[in-house]
């Protein structure tokens, strides 16, 4: 059973379908990037996972248990949400003390996590005097307080300066090295590309790709093929039957990752599908990301 399992998750707010039938797992000891443009449904998915919003359909569980069913949730899951807020009049240390009492964590964990995030010198200052970076470090310290098995970070680099971003990347990698499952959401691929092992890409609430970074986004060296046919549905079935991952492009046609145009042509021929376009895509990670998510730079 995976540390995090999301199955058929959907969330509707009135007439807006924010998350549409998402299914994926997060593995232990790996960093998974949860990518998509702003408004893609990333935060809603994470909040559904954490029991903050009620799914319209589907489940989001930690080794089979919903967040609200966990005995001591902070020992299982640590989360930093995008709008991490603190009482401005409370010191950083007192914020952690409240969480430690709630979660029944030993008091010595407070100093340990303050040290881990480099916030010890400012621990006894009121949060209203903290910079954005210090608040983000306090949020991380809060998430680490229970020494959790799963770490969920929603846009953790927002508002951080370059040294802060570098620190965050190092921290994320270190947590995975310790065996934790880490899920990092971002709308900026470049910020997470260096530190993730796997990616889940969504746009408009729908799954666009899931796998290793190379599998999903290809990259400069990896072969990938854009193909159009007279019957894309049939072509998709033929390619999937041959064991290849197929992604539908927003502008029409299919993107076949990890496969050369020649192979795609042969499979289409064998399947009796007439092609109208067949080309190798040479693109950067960002271009691939935009193509998957329907961004402005999509080809």
């Amino acid at each position: 059973m995976a540390p995090v399992e999301i199955r058929g998750l959907s969330k509707r707010f009135g007439s807006v379908l924010a998350v549409d039938d998402l299914t994926f797992d997060i593995a232990a000891g790996r960093v998974t990037g949860f990518l998509g443009p702003n408004g893609a449904g990333k935060s809603t998915t994470l909040r559904a996972l954490l029991g903050l919003v009620r799914p319209t359909a589907g489940t989001a569980t930690f080794e089979g248990s919903r967040y609200d069913q966990l005995e001591r949730p902070a020992t299982k899951v640590g989360a930093v949400l995008e709008d991490a807020s603190f009482h401005p009049g409370r010191t950083g240390r007192n914020h952690l003390r409240v969480l430690a009492v709630t979660g029944r964590h030993p008091p010595e964990r407070i100093d340990a996590v303050l040290e881990a995030v480099g916030l010890t010198p400012a621990a006894d200052r009121r949060v209203k005097g903290y910079s954005m970076g210090m608040r983000q470090r306090l949020a991380i310290a809060s998430a680490l307080l229970g020494d959790p098995e799963v770490l969920i970070l929603d846009e953790p680099t927002n508002g951080l300066d370059p040294p802060g971003i570098a620190w965050m990347r190092g921290m994320v990698r270190e947590q995975a090295t310790r065996g934790r499952a880490v899920l990092v959401s971002s709308h900026l691929l470049a910020e997470v590309a260096q530190s993730v092992d796997d990616v889940v890409v969504i746009a408009k609430g729908k799954m666009r790709g899931h796998g290793t970074l190379e599998q999903v986004l290809g990259g400069d060296e990896g072969p990938s093929t854009e193909v159009r046919s007279q019957d894309d549905d049939r072509l998709a079935r033929v390619l999937q039957a041959a064991g290849h991952a197929v992604t539908r492009l927003p502008a029409g046609g299919l993107l076949v990752l990890g496969v050369s145009p020649r192979e795609v042509g042969e499979i289409a021929h064998d399947g009796g599908v007439y092609l109208v376009k067949l080309s190798q895509r040479s693109r950067s990670l960002e271009q691939a990301f935009f193509a998957l998510t329907g961004g402005e730079q999509a080809e």
Binding site: F13, S43, T44, R47, L50, G51, L52, V53, R54, Y67, D68, L70, P73, A74, A79, L81, D83, A84, S85, F86, H87, P88, G89, R90, T91, N94, R97, V98, L99, V101, T102, G103, R104, S142
Partner: protein
């Protein structure tokens, strides 16, 4: 529940709001007692007893309760609070208990202070002082009212999440609506949660003699307060449970 209760009490102690409200309640209550004890004369035993009900804790603790709950939305700390304690019903229950305890503690400090200062002034002026039994009677009534309105404030904050609207609403009910009802329709006004029922628990203090006859008996008034708190808990819990924290 014990951990949640401890955490809520710790939250109270670790901001300046609580200390400021304790100080304000103490200063205001002492001011009234010092002025009345110095300027009044020929006190009867009942008047001395009533003097020591000048505990303004109720007003402050109800506001503290409102701020404690509605402030979770104002400061957007509700998300981290619910993440730490996903059972929202227990969370609300713990908050109500914590503010009830805080109210009782605040009232204990204020009531003992005004009793001490008032008794010293009255003794120095060779005025009547209250018997110990009367002081104990006033003390438990003040404590009970403060505890109940503390929980009431949390319930109001759970239902009306806009902190400013909740505070303005409480002040309007306490200083305009309920006094008007007590004056015009006492049969209804005595069931009010900020003046009527608390007045019934405390007794005749603060009311004209003819109004005092209209008050509920302390036991009934306590049940009425518990009814208000229960209703607000149910409404607040339903709202909290059904809310998406986005």
């Amino acid at each position: 529940m014990s951990a949640l209760l401890q955490a809520e009490l710790l939250k109270l102690r670790t901001t300046r709001t609580f200390a400021a409200l304790v100080a304000a309640a103490l200063v205001l209550s002492l001011l009234v007692v010092v002025l009345v004890a110095n300027l009044g004369g020929d006190f009867t035993a009942d008047e001395v007893r009533d003097l020591f009900t000048a505990d303004f804790t109720g007003l402050f603790i109800i506001l503290l309760g409102v701020i404690g709950m509605a402030g979770e939305w104002r400061h957007r700390t509700i998300t981290s609070t619910v993440l730490a304690a996903p059972d929202r019903i227990r969370l609300l229950g713990a908050k109500m208990l914590a503010y009830a305890a805080a109210g009782a503690l605040l009232s204990l400090i204020v009531t003992l202070s005004i009793m001490l200062v008032g008794s010293i002034i009255l003794s120095a002026r060779d005025e009547e002082t209250a018997a110990v039994a009367d002081l104990v009677d006033v003390l438990w009534r003040n404590l009970l009212v403060a505890a109940l309105v503390g929980a009431l404030g949390v319930g109001i904050g759970a239902v009306v999440r806009n902190q400013v609207a909740a505070i303005v609403g409480v002040l309007f009910v306490a200083f305009v609506l309920e006094p008007t009802l007590l004056g015009l329709l006492p049969d209804y006004g005595r069931f009010g949660p900020t003046q009527g029922a608390p007045g019934g628990i405390i007794g005749a203090a603060g009311f004209e003699e003819e109004d005092a006859d209209e008050l509920l008996a302390p036991g009934v008034a306590t049940l009425v307060m518990l009814g208000w708190i229960g209703a607000l808990f149910a409404a607040g819990a339903a709202r909290l449970r059904g809310s998406d924290l986005v």
